[in-house]
């Protein structure tokens, strides 16, 4: 029985949408990218390999995110703006996971999200990101530690705020 684009859509549209949503921060964009992803899947089924299904599909997904960022960055924030926003963001106390994610480097953020949202293993992630499983292992760990640091800072500030309000 041959796999169709509809089968792949049923299996992957939710994780793909969540990955796009986390990576872009916009529901509309996430939906557009999900649509584009599955249209590309339909066109590219000739190169589909069942044993590497997830890796193949999320490689297309990641390329879509990279293309999107390339198109968006000059219009919205320049490099200097991005740096300024990053610095300011670290001074802000109330930021959640999305904000913490936005402070990671693009490649670390992508790897972390792909790992957590899609459940691909390190070898598959290495294929998606054109790198080695060892590099994936180290970058996923780095992303986790940075997120933990950012989120625990937020949690401790929230805790202090609550105490002050109580006091």
């Amino acid at each position: 029985m041959e796999t169709t684009a509809t089968d792949l859509f049923e299996r992957y549209h939710v994780p793909a949408y969540r990955y796009f949503l986390r990576a872009t921060g916009s529901q509309d964009v996430a939906q557009d990218l999900t649509q584009e992803l599955f249209l590309r899947v339909l066109r590219g089924l000739k190169t589909y390999k069942p044993e590497r299904e997830g890796g193949w599909l999320f490689r297309i997904a990641r390329n879509l995110v990279l293309d999107y960022r390339r198109r968006q960055l000059p219009r919205h924030v320049g490099l200097a703006d991005a740096r300024r926003l990053g610095t300011e963001a670290t001074q802000l106390v109330a930021f959640g996971l999305s904000e913490a994610l936005s402070l990671l480097s693009e490649s670390d953020r992508d790897l972390f999200l792909l790992r957590e949202v899609t459940g691909l293993n390190y070898a598959e992630l290495a294929g998606v990101c054109d790198t080695t499983p060892e590099n994936v292992r180290s970058r996923v760990c780095r992303a986790r530690c940075r997120l933990k640091e950012l989120l625990s800072a937020r949690l401790s500030v929230d805790e202090n705020k609550r105490r002050n309000e109580d006091g």
């Binding site: 169709t4 949408y17 949503l21 939906q31 339909l42 760990c141 933990k148």
Partner: protein, 169 residues
């Protein structure tokens, strides 16, 4: 906590293979359990996201992809049928060519029969004339057995025989 211990914990947390000795050493590090718990909290935060694309969007995608799959399937069937027809044609042409080649390799005339006629005026003399007559292939004509075919002299042999005959006479 050192970086490599954290990497081992992170990989272990992701279900990746890790060396048991390294894992034991990493778990003995101070704060190791806190790191594991924080990794789990982080995962829970990511998975707490229950957002999905709208049902309208999904329906529209299913329709589009379904049409595409159907078109792809019929295109593939068409390609398969064309391929099968091409193969059949190639096989037929190939068979015809082989048959033609084999036919070309066969002699155009059939086996040759050598007849001798007694020379006039000689009662028991050897044959004075040899007539070599090619037997044309005709439908319904019984062919000579293979061994006979091989023994039938060729026209060259016949010429030598005629020369010899003339010399002797």
């Amino acid at each position: 906590m050192r970086g490599n211990h954290l990497e081992v914990l992170s990989a272990f947390f992701d279900g990746e293979p890790v060396e048991p000795e390294l894992l034991a050493a990493s778990l003995r590090e101070p704060g190791a359990l806190d790191f594991l718990v924080d990794f789990a909290r982080l995962r829970a935060a990511v998975h707490a996201d229950t957002s999905r694309p709208t049902e309208e969007f999904c329906e529209s995608m299913r329709e589009t992809l379904g049409r595409g799959d159907a078109r792809r399937g019929s295109h593939r069937r068409l390609v398969q049928m064309s391929l099968a027809a091409s193969l059949a044609l190639a096989a037929a042409l190939g068979g015809f060519s082989v048959r033609s080649l084999l036919d070309r390799g066969q002699p155009t005339s059939g086996p040759v029969v050598v007849q001798t006629r007694q020379a006039p005026g000689r009662a028991s003399a050897p044959a004075s004339e040899t007539i070599v007559t090619p037997v044309s292939k005709a439908p319904g004509r019984t062919e000579l057995p293979k061994s006979s075919k091989q023994e039938v002299p060729s026209p060259n042999l016949r010429m030598r025989f005629a020369e010899w005959h003339d010399t002797v006479l």
